[in-house]
Symmetry: D2
Subunit: 136 residues, 4 copies
């Protein structure tokens, strides 16, 4: 298992008139946290795009337990439970507030695609090799 | 079954550097389409909030089949397959482009809550009565 | 003078915890209204990008008089007071609510740029010719 | 003069199909940076709202010099050149990339308002006292 944590401060722009974070705004939080997860492996998602690989999101599932509020300092966990198989990678996310209450969970499936041919491909080998030690 | 359709024009702000609509931006499209569905019944979500009822989203599931592009005129369907049971209502969404290709599907679960006590409640009766004829 | 009007329904996602439209969200409203203005001339901003011309925004000025609320049906005016000179075009915007109250004004300056060389250019001639009759 | 700096990592959601940060997305960056400026004085904007004071934005001016890219680590400066006079406060913002190039400048005017009466008021005294030493 490979797990990372990112801290995100809730912006006013991200609240809605219910006085909480708008439910759609967790999706950029998840994305931001996945970017930090890749960075921790010594790469960036930009590197991947430069290698000619894009990662479109094909499935999103969010479950909302408690609301986040303006200015909350959230901890967003990114969890990779399995090495990516073929063209598919599945991330799990968990969002906690400062009281360590679980607010939201997410499961995101992305594909590895060759940008120029729009064909499914696999995770670039150098990144896969960085991940392998976490899965023994 | 109760079904409505809304048309939404993709904004530049809603695209990302992959040249398509950012995956998180379908969530406001769904929300916008649900608002039109309620309006078609002769009410607005604002009316509901004035009655003291809010509808937090508790679960979102989106599945992405094809990308939407800048300036596409999307048709967003809102489908209510069952009358809301107790405090829970489940909407299905489908997004089509002008070529009538299915781009994205969504399933959203919301709760009816009393805003001041934050207790679960049920759909306001006058709105439920408007819906009933669609479910015989 | 060339003037167009677009109607925009406020989304829940666009409100903030002050119970009004977040001040930054008028910028996509303006953008959306400019897109409709170009469409009224028989072109789209996408056509322009296909001609190899992009229009980055170089200056934005918004002034806020009254708040817009959730579900308001706004009228967003786009006003072109002068034919674009050289590489520069200046749009004025006005946002009204259903009571015809002026809520927000905006002034946006964009440049015409050749996308591949990133050099300043001028408005494509066929669009300029469509605009000319409004400025006599 | 009171100056603070905040670091903001550009999200994929914040880019558009031009491959750069969408021009409207600097406004939440500025907001985020102002929140950190207040925090540096030992308060939060939430504290202010709890004191019954809200700060609607009344004027925004952004000038764009160079684009920010996905995953850039931006430095957003908040500069207060003068102590707030009466109900009005004016912030200046500057956005730099990692090469220390100036990308965007902003000037934002906000009002201090009593939330329940919607009357103009002044900066709460305890915060004003924290600011005073920077203006001698």
């Amino acid at each position: 298992m490979f797990t990372t944590e990112t801290q995100i401060r809730v912006r006013y722009a991200e609240t809605d008139q219910m006085g909480v974070v708008y439910h759609g705004n967790y999706i950029p939080y998840f994305e931001s946290s996945r970017a930090e997860a890749i960075r921790e492996l010594g790469y960036t998602y930009s590197d991947m795009e430069k290698m000619g690989i894009i990662m479109p999101v094909v499935d999103v599932h969010c479950h909302y337990l408690r609301p986040a509020k303006y200015d909350d300092l959230l901890t967003v966990k990114t969890i990779l439970k399995e090495l990516p198989i073929h063209h598919k990678i599945e991330f799990h996310h968990e969002v906690y507030n400062e009281a360590n209450e679980l607010l939201v969970t997410g499961k995101i499936i992305l594909y590895f695609m060759e940008a120029n041919r729009m064909k499914r491909t696999t995770m670039p080998l150098p990144i896969l090799e960085k991940l392998q030690p976490y899965f023994n």
